[in-house]
Symmetry: C2
Subunit: 189 residues, 2 copies
């Protein structure tokens, strides 16, 4: 009996997170309100607040889901190739596709939540997994003496910069690949 209650509670918590993700992807994060989420999860607001500290905590949970999904996407892309250079290119493309297909998820991961520990050791596992996938794709390209972590961060920043400016309408989408090509060919001189 006790365990059933706990199971039902956990299930409702899951419902809240998936509802947040669904509403955000369908109507944007402005449409995500605690009232709306409680309604979608068929419970009252205080129940939501018993699971999460606040609205931001729900968004953080969605963000963690997003990192988990990004990790699996990147892993699949890397494993679909054999050459190191192809692997990095595939990971680049997978990142771009992810950002294009899941803009609301990216908002949660990179814009909304500030409370997630990132560069720390207690960062969520999904987050470390996503970063690890990128690192594995970047590492073979490192030269001797390079700090691979730093190189991975840099690569991440580049992909994020292009994707985020495109996602917010600052850059036109169609030339994305040409920009990446320019980047690869141009930043040594």
């Amino acid at each position: 009996m006790r365990t059933r209650r706990e199971r039902e509670r956990a299930e409702r918590k899951r419902l809240i997170v998936t509802a947040a993700r669904r509403v955000a992807e369908a109507e944007g994060w402005n449409a995500v309100t605690t009232r709306r989420l409680s309604a979608e999860a068929e419970c009252s607001q205080p129940v939501l607040y018993s699971h999460f500290k606040g609205k931001e905590a729900v968004a953080a949970a969605v963000a963690v889901q997003g990192f988990a999904e990004l990790a699996t996407v990147l892993r699949a892309a890397r494993r679909g190739t054999h050459d190191d250079r192809d692997a990095l290119a595939a990971v680049r493309e997978a990142y771009t596709r992810f950002a294009r297909r899941r803009p609301a998820l990216c908002d949660a991961m990179f814009t909304l939540t500030v409370d997630l520990p990132f560069a720390a050791a207690d960062a969520p596992a999904a987050l470390q997994a996503a970063f690890g996938e990128l690192r594995q794709a970047v590492a073979p390209m490192a030269a001797d003496g390079d700090d691979i972590g730093l190189l991975t961060e840099t690569c991440w920043a580049v992909l994020h910069g292009l994707a985020s400016l495109t996602r917010n309408g600052r850059l036109l989408e169609k030339a994305h690949d040409r920009r990446l090509t320019l980047l690869v060919s141009h930043f040594a001189a």
Copy 2:
């Protein structure tokens, strides 16, 4: 008399924008409310709404101010050097410093407002000016046949990616320069 009224109205509009910027820089955009802005500008809310379509429009006005300021900062950096390569490096550093010193302004420019036309011909002059400054620093580095606009966009995306991840706590600030160095030395292979 008629002109005095118009002058006073324009002055109050300016007051609202500067209040928004001041509050955002001091306490973050969450503290920027229409009531707060009307209070700071010593008028009522409907007056604010007679000047701006809504809260987002005020943020957009602040963002345009931000682009104007960024343009002057980049211009000063570029003009302080003579060699083309030094100029690009100076512009890079100026961009980073701007992002670090004016985080709230960057939020308005890159995160909050989506209604500003960017890649279009009717983009605000300040915005085109900032982009033009970056273009002038990037252009000398272009190879034959390069699309300079595209190259500028790419450079902008890189700077933005690094700055935005750092600003939101995703990257640790201290290694920023080393990341830029890695970037410049590594992305051709």
